[in-house]
């Protein structure tokens, strides 16, 4: 993974010193809250329902054991012993003190981490494929380009006061694990006719109040032109994006209102002007960054994994864990191990300091010290020897980290909702907890198969409810928590937005509704069909009938 050089270090350290001075001025009363708010937000510090919340970037979801230990330390020393992994490669601490935030940022800087641009109307933490560098079928490790984008977007002088926040996602393979089509800019690595690697550029996707699937504005962009092209898009958006209405300020609306064709024309015209500027990436610099992402020293291993196979044969729980949590690795004899942060009846994405420490130790022992965080709020050990999976599993189980449900119905994405978030209309976590409890039975879980439930506490859609197979949205109805349910969304290559089922439900009803939807699927599915496949074949009506009764 990438390691800071002296310049990266200097920037982050200067930034900490700057924030320390700003906090001192605020505490001394020299800055008012109105003056201070934009400054703290630039450093990821929010004020939530119960306390401040600090959002820390985990750039493109990669971190090492040392960094994970630091997060554990911060959780213990400065917070209440736990942290929350979000849907955007961030970690949130829910109880930091303002007075101590500069110290927390200094701790983070010591392990090459920061909270810069995790908030505000700027280019946010760039996100990527959690299997980058480990999965089959990758054109290049997308993190090389993520790091290049991270640096370019950090304290960008022109694009720090955009109409609205701006999110970029990059994937290096056809299998889209980064939901690139629902980002402001999505980049998919492609090869042109001559076999050169580059990017398909997708613009204007996004969730929230008016969800859109992004549009391809350039099928192929040479790699060295990445930054000039991004700068052209951002410049057009910065000038054209609406500033009169917060709900229409995202680039998806700009693209929609301008028309994708006209928007593309404007970007291309701007790009022509700056294409050959200093933004053209020097090969030397790309190579320098790429060297940081060279594969670790994989051992030459045999294809067979006798210990793992034997355990699978005799241990049903282990077999389930391997089936659901382990993915194929590009190197023979290795596997990708997912660590589910979705145990039954617990807040999705939360991890205790002890669990973080355990994961760090396991990363050192099994995965070259490497860890990934996923947009589904789980963790990944990307490079595990396949025959050591039993050993890993046992250690995960001892720490309460062996839930075998990746991609299944209890692997729910949920935003913090009204338990923490000041913008929320309704709680999100308790709904998720109750659904996992309802579907706790392993046989039933297996029977249902691949299923994504996503839940947000308000229309901001941090829980990505629009692209859940089943999406749940908390709304406020006459001062009571209320939930809208939609079905048919997808965040993968076949990205689609779900459609609202009908009138909403109380918190007590919503779990039953999910169960009815699942039962409808089970009753209608053909052999081997997933939920989303069945839904696409039979449409919404059978689900509606089951949930609301015959029309």
């Amino acid at each position: 993974m990438y390691h800071y050089d002296e310049y990266d270090h200097a920037l982050v350290q200067d930034r900490v010193a700057q924030f320390r001075r700003q906090v001192e001025r605020r505490l001394a009363g020299e800055l008012t809250e109105d003056q201070f708010r934009p400054l703290r937000l630039m450093n990821g510090l929010y004020l939530q329902l119960h306390a401040y919340m600090l959002r820390i970037a985990i750039p493109y979801g990669t971190l090492d054991a040392r960094q994970m230990r630091k997060l554990a330390y911060i959780a213990r020393r400065y917070d209440k012993g736990y942290g929350h992994f979000t849907t955007r490669h961030n970690m949130q601490f829910n109880w930091p003190k303002l007075e101590e935030t500069p110290d927390i940022l200094a701790e983070l800087a010591s392990v090459e981490m920061h909270a810069i641009q995790t908030s505000g109307n700027c280019i946010r933490n760039v996100t990527s494929d959690q299997y980058a560098g480990a999965a089959e079928g990758e054109i290049e490790d997308p993190r090389i380009w993520c790091e290049i984008i991270r640096q370019w977007s950090t304290l960008h002088p022109e694009f720090s006061f955009l109409p609205r926040k701006f999110k970029i996602a990059v994937t290096g393979s056809e299998a889209d694990r980064a939901a690139v089509k629902v980002h402001d800019i999505g980049l998919i690595m492609r090869r042109d006719g001559a076999g050169q690697a580059g990017f398909e550029v997708i613009v204007g996707g996004g969730l929230g109040r008016t969800p859109f699937i992004g549009k391809t504005i350039r099928p192929f962009l040479p790699k060295e032109d990445l930054l000039s092209y991004l700068e052209a898009i951002l410049r057009v958006y910065n000038q054209l994006g609406r500033r009169d209405n917060k709900f229409k300020a995202r680039i998806k609306v700009t693209v929609h209102e301008t028309g994708a064709e006209e928007f593309t024309r404007l970007v291309e015209a701007e790009w022509l002007q700056i294409k050959d500027s200093a933004l053209k990436l020097p090969k030397q610099e790309v190579d320098r960054i790429a060297r940081h992402f060279e594969p670790p020293a994989f051992r030459v291993l045999s294809k067979t994994a006798p210990a793992t196979e034997a355990r699978i044969a005799r241990d049903r729980d282990f077999a389930a864990w391997v089936r659901h949590n382990v993915a194929a690795h590009k190197v023979s004899g290795y596997a990708i191990a997912n660590i589910s942060l979705k145990p039954i009846g617990k807040p999705p994405g939360d991890a205790t300091a002890e669990q973080m420490d355990v994961v760090a130790d396991l990363a050192d022992a099994f995965s070259f010290g490497e860890i990934r965080v996923t947009h589904a709020q789980n963790l990944v050990l990307p490079h595990v020897e396949r025959d050591r999976l039993p050993e890993l599993y046992d250690r995960l189980a001892a720490a309460g980290l062996a839930a075998s449900n990746i991609g299944l119905i209890s692997d729910i994405i949920a935003c913090p909702g009204l338990d923490y978030c000041s913008l929320a209309n309704a709680r999100s976590i308790p709904i998720a907890e109750r659904i996992t409890e309802r579907f706790a039975d392993r046989d039933r879980l297996e029977l249902i198969g691949e299923m994504q439930i996503k839940s947000s506490g308000c229309i901001n859609a941090c829980g990505h409810h629009h692209v859940g197979h089943i999406g749940i949205l908390g709304v406020d109805r006459k001062g009571e928590e209320h939930y809208q349910v939609q079905i048919g969304g997808s965040a993968s290559e076949d990205a689609a937005l779900g459609r609202i089922l009908g009138r909403g439900f109380s918190a007590d009803e919503v779990v039953d509704v999910v169960e009815k939807i699942v039962d409808t699927y089970l009753a209608h599915r053909n052999a081997g069909e997933t939920f989303i496949e069945t839904y696409r074949r039979i449409g919404q009506d059978p689900f509606k009938e089951r949930v609301y009764g015959a029309a």
């Binding site: 050089d5 310049y7 990266d8 200097a10 920037l11 200067d14 930034r15 010193a17 700057q18 001075r21 700003q22 934009p38 400054l39 630039m42 109307n121 640096q151 370019w152 950090t154 304290l155 960008h156 002088p157 022109e158 694009f159 720090s160 006061f161 955009l162 410049r235 910065n238 000038q239 500033r243 002007q273 500027s277 200093a278 933004l279 020097p282 030397q284 610099e285 320098r288």
Partner: protein, 168 residues
């Protein structure tokens, strides 16, 4: 209101030699004036015929392309920040400097947030209308606070990449 100028030897408080004219105010016979784009377009000939320096200010929704052919006749272009969070003028400034080659005074007016000064400098502004009585101290405190820049802009500062490659 203080006017701050960034010079090679540091910031200085300077006197504003321009009078900002309302669109309906009478045009004085003498003295430097700053007018809106609307007024400039309407009274172009009369304004350019005067012997005194002329400035035009652009609202944040007005594109600098509108004056790109007049720049050698302007002594001042001012870009307005109606609220600090409206960042359109950052793009306008870069376009004026880097695309249209404007060399004269480029002023930030309106809601200029002290913490934005480094970004403004990088985008090509060289004077700043600031409300705070401690503008000079604030400028010194924030400018140069972060020693590294990643983005090449018209200010010509060596970026991290330049320094890594030993280009500068």
């Amino acid at each position: 209101m203080a006017l701050l100028e960034s010079r090679t030897d540091g910031p200085a408080l300077v006197e504003d030699r321009f009078v900002r004219l309302a669109d309906d105010a009478a045009l004085p016979a003498e003295g430097a004036v700053l007018v809106s784009l609307v007024r400039f377009e309407k009274e172009r000939a009369a304004l350019l015929a005067r012997k005194a320096p002329l400035g035009v200010w652009l609202a944040s929704n007005q594109t600098p392309a509108a004056i790109s052919n007049e720049l050698d006749r302007l002594a001042l272009v001012a870009l307005d920040f109606p609220v600090f969070s409206d960042g359109r003028a950052f793009s306008s400034a870069r376009l004026l400097r880097e695309r249209y080659g404007y060399k004269g005074e480029l002023r930030a007016i309106g809601d200029v947030l002290c913490e934005q000064l480094p970004f403004m400098l990088r985008s090509g502004f060289d004077t700043f209308e600031m409300k705070s009585p401690k503008a000079l101290e604030e400028f010194r405190a924030v400018v140069g606070e972060v020693r590294v820049v990643y983005q090449p802009t018209g200010d010509g500062r060596a970026t991290a990449i330049d320094r890594r490659l030993g280009r500068r």
